[in-house]
């Protein structure tokens, strides 16, 4: 009975992905798939089935002006893509030329090293933060960096009574209409827990009892007031790992 319907729906998905539907039919499928998860899944399946056909079409370089247009539409600087914005201009150019010469594999490798470097920074800075003779030695600390590396951006220091102080390590500006939200992902867990909003000049929070180091701490960019779903909706801007508290701690 429903076999016919399912077949029908599956073929509709196939026709949609193949591209033979006219404008009105396409829109109808798009609307319907919004509410029909079976149709939605069927579309994804057909995309995976048919997409190898794309290999039959010869590549064609886009016009040179397209990247700046894309970058502008995405709100990113066409040059800032190759290096941190603080890098001298000449260095940016050199790096850009270099990167362009690299093939993909090498680019990917470079990204991998970037990530490794970011993790190294976390370790090194965390150790130095711990060794700094300060009046209030934190029980543990984490340095938050962008997922692709870059300069340390936040210092998170755990204090007594489950408190964690967040201090910005560089100037941070949050676009109007947006908020930064903190998340904790205890080691071994899969779903991050919301820890509240944070302003650009930092804040001290109290961890709920369910969230304990060792954990990953993240800051995501969310709509005003934070993610409505209790899970990060926007991009994770910075993250870092906080080790288990020192034995003297109360955690």
């Amino acid at each position: 009975m429903s076999g016919f319907q399912d077949d029908d729906r599956n073929l509709l998905a196939a026709e949609y992905v193949l591209g033979v539907l006219d404008g009105a039919e396409r829109e109808a499928v798009q609307r319907r798939a919004d509410e029909d998860s079976v149709l939605n899944d069927a579309i994804t399946e057909w995309e995976n089935r048919l997409s190898p056909l794309a290999a039959m079409v010869s590549p064609l370089a886009p016009p040179a002006g397209l990247w700046p247009r894309v970058a502008a539409s995405c709100g990113i600087s066409p040059l800032a893509d190759q290096a941190p914005a603080v890098a001298p201009r000449a260095a940016v150019h050199t790096r850009a030329r270099l990167l362009r010469r690299l093939d993909f594999w090498r680019t990917t490798t470079a990204l991998g090293f970037g990530l490794a470097a970011a993790l190294a920074i976390v370790v090194v800075v965390r150790n130095s933060a711990l060794q700094t003779p300060a009046p209030n030695v934190p029980l543990a600390a984490a340095v938050l960096v962008a997922p692709n590396g870059g300069a340390p951006t936040w210092l998170a220091s755990a204090g007594p009574d489950n408190s964690v102080q967040f201090k910005p390590l560089q100037h941070i500006a949050v676009a109007s209409g947006k908020d930064l939200e903190l998340w904790g992902l205890p080691d071994g867990e899969k779903v991050p827990r919301p820890l509240g909003l944070i302003t650009a000049d930092g804040r001290t929070i109290t961890l709920p009892n369910t969230v304990k180091a060792p954990m990953e701490i993240m800051v995501s960019l969310e709509q005003k007031g934070g993610s409505p779903t209790g899970l990060p909706q926007g991009p994770v801007l910075w993250l870092g790992h906080m080790a288990a508290y020192a034995a003297t701690g109360n955690g």
Binding site: E15, G19, N48, R49, P52, L53, P62, C74, T229
Partner: protein, 226 residues
Amino acid sequence: MALLALDARSRLASSSRTGNSRPWQYAHQARPVREWHPLSTQISETADRGDDMLTALLLRCATGDRTAFRALYDAQSSRLHGLAMRITRDPALAADATHDAFVQVWNQAVRFDPARGAAGAWLTSIVRYRALDITRRRVREQPGYEPPEQEDDSPDALARLVSSDEGAALHRCLGELEPDRRLLLVQAFTDGLTHNDISEKTGTPLGTIKSWIRRSLASLKRCLET
């Protein structure tokens, strides 16, 4: 530096819901969330390594990584622009489609889910749907608009399919179709032809074309599932 990143992401966040190529499909919040992690770069071991690279870049784009986005553009813009040009058959429309597709990729990279499909297929779908939507709109707004004809693929173009495992399976299953039906199916995909276009192009009644295509797709599905 932080300021730049925030500005960029916030601007795109405000426009990210305007993308119209099935943004619902990859919304991770639409599925039960069990394994969320910002660095979940686990990659399907069966995917080929080229796709692993694209997957890694897309996951990094999802975190706002501009370097990864530029690398993705360098890696894929010619491939995607070729697809857009083939469907729109107009340099300006093709540039619009490629532009829109990359903006959508940047805005919706967070919705890409490697568990649901290959990165290359995701990118292909985004640019094709943009090109199809743009072309269909153009036809609607300018009745009688006839995109310029273009050359058919060389007979050996099908051989390019075999470069990936998935492509090889598809190639084998396409081989089970009648040659003329196979050509129709392939051209519908690459050129973005509607049922109507094919009917006019081949001088075959619309109903016949529709049933040919449905039957070809059904047998393709059967073959690929065995």
